[in-house]
Amino acid sequence: MKQYVLQRFLQMIVILFGTSFIIFFLFAMLPGDYIDSNISLTPQRAQELKALYGLDQPVLQRYFKWLGNALHGDFGYSLKHQENVLSLLNKYVWNSFFVAILALFLTWSIALVSGVISAIKQYSWFDGFVTFFVFAAMSFPSFFISLLFIKWFGVDLQILPIGGMIDTGSDSTGLAHLLEVGKHMILPVTILTLLSIGSLTRYFRTGMLEVIRQDYIRTARAKGLKERVVIFKHALKNAILPAITLLAFELPGLFSGAIIMEQIFNWPGVGRIQLESVSFRDYPVLMAFTMFLSCLTIIGNFLADVTYAAVDPRIRLK
């Protein structure tokens, strides 16, 4: 086990170097850069600025310069925001994170409960309702359902704010501030939950259906155990195991921001920063953020393997 962890850790480092190289070159290959997009500059001034930002140097040289700085924890300055990349991301990433983690928690709890119940009551009216509802929720485009909810709850009923994170001009602090932000979070969180709940519910339902047909469930019943114990101890533990892998894959999603939702609700999240940095060729931000996400993806994978081995006695890591 120790050896496995060490081995995976070394692999992770190599993979990260590889990804950083590929990402850097892909971005460098895109035509144009931050200076080119500003047409008001004279060619002479543009040349000066390019030299200042180091954009006139060969790609390989730029990559190693970036890598050297990054290894020291210096990810450079955002060209557009004129701010240290780390402090810029730090400012916005948490806004996205809180929405994402709440949505994740809600999605998993609701999907688990409704998936399990619709499996043990297969073809009942509840099962039919859940199936219909999750497919409907899944099938709506996010922009449509967001706008619809804004119209219903924000404009018609006027019970929820239509966007932003705080009321315009608000300077509330403490508990009042928390409540205010919470109220603004309701719609984004609901919509993110609705969009992702479908596949997970179906996943739990299928897993559970497969498990309750197994011989060992019949054995558990033949032992005279209570139906509650049969379902929630014997069946659920087996049905939930494969989902652990899925949960670990959600790790990067927690920090990546939801681009469309943030745009519609005017939520100051990191998804917007990301989109902006692509359109303005803001390489330092783009590089730092993409590397951060690939780190999280690789760590997520690693965690999935390790936790799976920890909970499933049949798996031994070598």
Partner: protein
Amino acid sequence: MNEMLLQVNHLQTNFYTESGVVKAVNDVSFAIREGETVCIVGESGCGKSITALSLMQLIPENGKVEGGEINFAGKNLLDLSKKDIRRLRGNEIGMIFQEPMTSLNPVFTIGEQMIEPIQEHLLLSKKAAYKKAMELITMLGIPNAEKIVNLYPHELSGGMLQRIMIAIALSCNPKLIIADEPTTALDVTIQAQILDLLRDIKKEFNTSMLLITHDLGVVAEMADYVVVMYAGKVVEEGPVLELFKNPQHPYTKGLLKAKPVIGERKDRLYTIAGQVPNLVDLSEACYFADRCEHAMDICRVKQPVLTEMAKGQKTACWLYEDGENQ
């Protein structure tokens, strides 16, 4: 004679499938006395396993017990509430299944799975239940009980797991053990060991046993009384010696002829021609008529009923009906 423990009368279990109603168990009656071993024999799909599962009311969802009665120790099991049935399972009736490898939950240790019925029915503490589990493991001839309880099912062999299953079935001192093809998935040497074990248990605890099998060797070795099933119906029953010596029904005769005999070399074993009929929408005929060498006109229009023969045997065949019954 010992007292009656289980009496199954006219049991009827139907399955509702897309192609129609399958009468998996069709008017089956038999009885088990205390300390007696009754074997149900028949080929795959004849309803023998469903008969066993009907007793425990563990049949799959699309099936339903729709008639008859199951009298066990003075109660009709079909009248009991779900809760009372649950208290009976694993407590007064223990069950052993065909596939030991898949019959235990892969994510719990042997010990955790063994103590469950002990805690549930005998109301022992966890510690006492573990102690009892280890005693059972040792009793069934597995060394290192302290180590075994902490192992997971995948770490044991099929034979060991079947012993564990037997230990679980025995753990609450049941009056009846139902063993559904307990040796089918095991190799021959292990089969012999498991059968020896079941016989020892029967002797020691005076437990009754309902053994489901398609292996006539197992029947000869274990049974006191044999019930032969075909297409969901009992075609013949009788004490084991009589049945082997003097089979009456053409199907039983065929089964016995199809059995290899040690020391006798044949190019091909005898087979009963034809196939088991489709159990959906059967007509009012003897279900074996199409494969029977002695089929008569009446066999194709009317079903024979179980009739008492000499020496406690019963058979359902027109060959033995008197003219007056026709």
